[in-house]
Symmetry: none
Subunit: 158 residues, 2 copies
C-alpha cells in the first residue's frame, strides 16, 4: 500500500481492527520511508447499481435519495430515522442480492412498499400514491380497502 504523503510504495500495518460490525477492517499503517501514519479501510467491492426510470433514463442508485424519499413519506408519522435507514438498507440489500446490476424504479418502489407496509400504513399509502401513480381514484380506494383490513397489525416504529 502506497504512502499517501510521500508515495513510497511500502507501508506496514501497525494496528488492525474490525469496524462497522465487522463489515470493514480499519488498519493503521506506517510508511517505511517517511514514517508518517495513516488509516485505511478494507471493504467489500460495491458494484454500481443502475436505476431505470419509466422514461428509460438510467441513473446510479443513490441510497441517500431513497432515504430522503422515505423521510418525506414518513413525515409527521413518528417513525425514527433509524428505522427508515434500516428499511433503506434492507431494500438495497434485497435488490443487490438479485445480482442484477439494473433495477426499474417500479421494482424498487415495490420492494420499498413491501417493507413499508409492515412498518406504517399511512406512510405506505403516501409512498404508494407516488410510486404507483394510481391511474384513478378507484385504484386508490381499492388499495385503501386492502389496507383497512390490516388494522390489527402492530406498530413497528421505535
Amino acid at each position: 500500500m502506497r504512502c499517501p504523503f510521500c508515495y513510497f510504495p511500502e507501508t506496514k500495518v501497525t494496528d488492525s481492527r474490525g469496524a462497522d460490525e465487522g463489515n470493514t477492517i480499519r488498519r493503521r499503517r506506517e510508511c517505511q520511508q517517511c514514517n508518517k501514519r495513516f488509516t485505511t479501510y478494507e471493504m467489500v467491492e460495491e458494484l454500481p447499481l443502475m436505476v431505470i426510470k419509466k422514461d428509460g433514463r438510467r441513473e446510479l442508485f443513490d441510497r441517500n435519495k431513497l432515504i430522503n424519499g422515505l423521510l418525506r413519506a414518513c413525515e409527521k408519522r413518528s417513525i425514527s430515522v433509524g428505522v427508515i435507514e434500516e428499511l433503506a438498507v434492507n431494500v438495497e440489500k434485497e435488490i443487490r442480492n438479485t445480482l442484477d446490476r439494473e433495477v426499474t424504479t417500479q421494482r424498487l418502489g415495490e420492494t420499498v412498499m413491501h417493507y413499508l407496509k409492515e412498518i406504517d400504513q399511512v406512510a405506505y399509502v403516501r409512498f404508494a400514491s407516488v410510486y404507483r401513480q394510481f391511474a384513478d381514484i378507484q385504484n386508490f380506494m381499492h388499495e385503501l380497502e386492502v389496507l383497512m383490513k390490516q388494522v390489527s397489525k402492530p406498530d413497528h416504529s421505535k
Copy 2:
C-alpha cells in the same frame, strides 16, 4: 471481515494484489461458512470534501451525484457507464490531490469539462451549458465556435 452473503464473521484471504498503481489493495476472500468468494478493496481513508455552491452554501461532495450529472450530460451519446465512472474518478482524484478540503462548484465543473471535452464534444457543451450557466447566447455561441475548431479530434468514446 464479514461475509456479504451469509454474514458469517470469518473469511480468509485467497489472493491479494496491489491495484490502482499501488494506491489500493484488492483481495479475494472466501467465507469460512458458505465458501462463497468475494472481492474487497483496502484504500486510504478519505477526508470529507466540501463543495461550496455559488450562493455560499456548503455540502458534502457526493460521487454519485457527479456521476448522475455526467450520465445526464451524456444521454444518448453512446458513452459507456464505465467511461463515465472513470471520468468521475479522475475528477475526484484531481480535486482531492490539491489537499484543499473545499472546492467551489465552479472549479469542480471546470475540472469535469476539462476531461469531458476530450471524450465527447456534445456532452461537453451540454454539461457546460448547465455548469457555466452561460449569461447569454453570445457566450454560448462563442463556446460553440471554440468547439467547432476541434472537429478534427478523434472520438474517445468506448
